[in-house]
Symmetry: C2
Subunit: 407 residues, 2 copies
């Protein structure tokens, strides 16, 4: 898609935006200041919802956000009335220090559940973060780093999108964690800012569409967090309106999809303990829903994830995972291939097994399974449904990280 151009510098590509990040031990604070932005967000569907999620849902009712406060180290979840009060305290701190109306500030947290927020230390880190606010690549990176928990690398993306009328807008985002539908302990948090003009209800629609094919299609361990948040702001600094006659420019949607998929893949790649990245492409499913079920079931199978870790081209586990996903499947006509960046080989073609012991196909498959990126391509030959899901292998280190994570 030549109307989407990758940019360096994360949030720094957006005008009229300041960001910062600071950290002390396990507690980090990122601040994003984007004055008078239209905004919307998608949140966890877990019935146990952290205080900042409740707070921010309410703050978003007005549709205008000027600043976002994010902390790592404590999820402020299962903390009752005190949790909401702590949100108010931190929002007030930002409001006073930056002279921004309280009701235009969103708040987001990630970390341990069921512990009161250590307000003193988080306030201290917050002041430090605010003092560093700026609009350059280092600041964006610092913000991406301050929200990390068990993440091993910061995750940013920025793009320039050429609209159908030839004008350009930019979108930038940072993320942490490992998945909206099925994130690991660390919670998935994503913050996206565009310089386009776009009403908050259109942001909501566009963000839901993008999240559905990106954050909602990655799985690390099937656990869904209490704090998951993906918040998007549009500050209009480009002066370009991307909604004309009530219709969102399709190139803008594509650009947002691209950005969200990029961020989601980075999360899957950084799944706790991961050594390999897995992509499952399903086509020929009965319909879209079936394709999504099949792709996510492959990515979620502990058995297949362990096989990828071990480098075992165990297509029996792939077909079994599709079989219990709930989608329609005719094993007699399915095609299963695996691929790396260098090679692709059919394991099963139109229901016929091609990768028996001592066959060239199995030998090639074994080599493919050694690569860092393992791609599974399924054609179910039943209809037009297509979907892609991303994940990672299940490793000793996943168990280690989660066995040792302190309550």
């Amino acid at each position: 898609m030549d109307f989407i151009k990758d940019l360096d510098g994360g949030f720094s590509v957006i005008e009229n935006l300041k960001v910062s990040g600071a950290r002390e031990g396990k507690y980090g604070v990122s601040i994003i200041v984007s004055p008078n932005s239209t905004a919307s967000a998608v949140f966890t569907s877990n019935k146990v919802v952290a205080a900042p999620v409740k707070y921010t849902k309410n703050a978003l009712k007005k549709g205008i956000i000027s600043a976002v406060f994010v902390n790592s180290g404590n999820a402020n979840c299962f903390t009752g009335e005190k949790g909401i009060k702590d949100c108010e305290t931190l929002v007030e701190l930002v409001s006073k220090d930056l002279d921004i109306p309280k009701d235009e500030i969103a708040i987001s947290s990630t970390g341990v559940i069921g512990r009161e927020m250590p307000i003193d230390i988080i306030s201290k880190v917050a002041y430090e973060s605010i003092s560093k606010l700026g609009n350059n690549a280092e600041n964006s990176l610092a913000a991406a780093k301050a929200i990390m928990t068990t993440d091993t690398f910061p995750k940013e993306c920025a793009v320039e999108v050429t609209l159908t009328n030839g004008e350009t807008v930019k979108i930038a985002g940072i993320t942490k964690g490992s998945g909206m539908i099925a994130p690991n302990m660390g919670t998935m948090l994503s913050f996206i800012v565009t310089d386009a003009e776009i009403p908050s209800d259109e942001i909501n629609k566009a963000l839901k569409k993008a999240a559905d094919i990106s954050f909602n299609m990655i799985v690390v361990d099937g656990d869904e967090s209490t704090n998951d948040t993906c918040l998007m702001m549009a500050n209009g600094s480009s002066g370009v309106n991307v909604v004309e006659d009530g219709k969102l420019d399709p190139n803008f949607q594509e650009g947002l999809n691209y950005l969200c998929i990029d961020l989601a893949k980075k999360m899957a790649r950084d799944g706790e303990g991961a050594t390999k990245f897995i992509e499952a492409n399903v086509c020929g499913a009965k319909d879209l829903e079936d394709a999504r079920l099949a792709a996510k079931s492959i990515i979620s199978s502990s058995l297949f994830k362990s096989a990828v870790f071990g480098g075992d081209p165990n297509w029996g586990r792939i077909v079994s995972a599709i079989g219990y996903s709930g989608c329609d499947l005719n094993p007699d006509i399915v095609t299963i291939a695996i691929a790396s960046d260098l090679d692709e080989v059919d394991l099963v073609k139109d229901g016929e097994i091609l990768a028996f012991e001592n066959t060239p196909n199995l030998e090639r498959a074994e080599k493919i399974m050694q690569s860092k990126n393992v791609i599974v391509n399924i054609d179910m030959h039943l209809g037009d449904g297509e979907a892609t899901a991303w994940g990672c292998d299940l490793t000793y280190d996943y168990v280690k990280i989660n066995a040792e994570y302190t309550t």
Copy 2:
């Protein structure tokens, strides 16, 4: 329940029953001969179904089974027409050698998917097994051993049930693997024989009820096999009919439930790589379905399973797992306790956290988490729904076993 008495000896407690087991390398064959038994079974709901499952579903239409052939080492799944032919070949072998009508023979397999059955070696082991048929405790144990794959111990149970009218009947069973709804690679297979008289449609109803609160409530890794089978036969050798006026004796149902729960717990305890056994008891749920969802979600959470392995009383992961299970939950009134065989401690009581850092409750909780049996007790205070699920911790060895399992 004093009308249920544990018995030693497995299948040997049932009259008019012969069993045997033999093994050569990874290939094992168990034979169960129970002439002219009424029979029924429950099977995997995976859409990819192994040849022996298709074969046995058909064989059961008549409702009479006299012998069961079971092999380990090859699942005979994804093997097309050849797979069904191999079932016929093995059934014919049993039929000729034991003079049993072909249409009264069931067949069941567990092992690798997508490889043709090595008929020569399996036939050889089958003949050896048949030559050993007998009715004693050693034979029952040999049968339980021959169906093992990654299991670390054989699983048997036998009970005597005193009916409401004072008469007694016996039920015995063997099992392998780790779960009907969510089994590990090894597939769950269970074979149960009773000396009661009971029509096949009543067996079907009773078996479904028992499976629902036993095999369907254990989870090892969430993967569901293509071969799962639980088959029950009634040979009537006690001369006692357990159905009167179209009603199954409730004590018989309780006895069958007891036996199935015992076998299911043994499977959960023997989950691949498991070092600890987990029991999740949920009460006070809105309804039965909600209680089942919550209990199974706790048992299935990779995060909580890793925490159990590490001995971390991470109740945040318990509450999060309930929160995304889909059941109704009010975090403000929930009670969460954990227990070992020696102690029980509240972590959260009526929504209030009692296990903060450096509290006596947390210290006791940490000790409890070191025990071999970790019990989670949840009261949701919303209704009458109650359910129990069983599972095991997620360990380095789970990953090791499944990373190294050969395709």
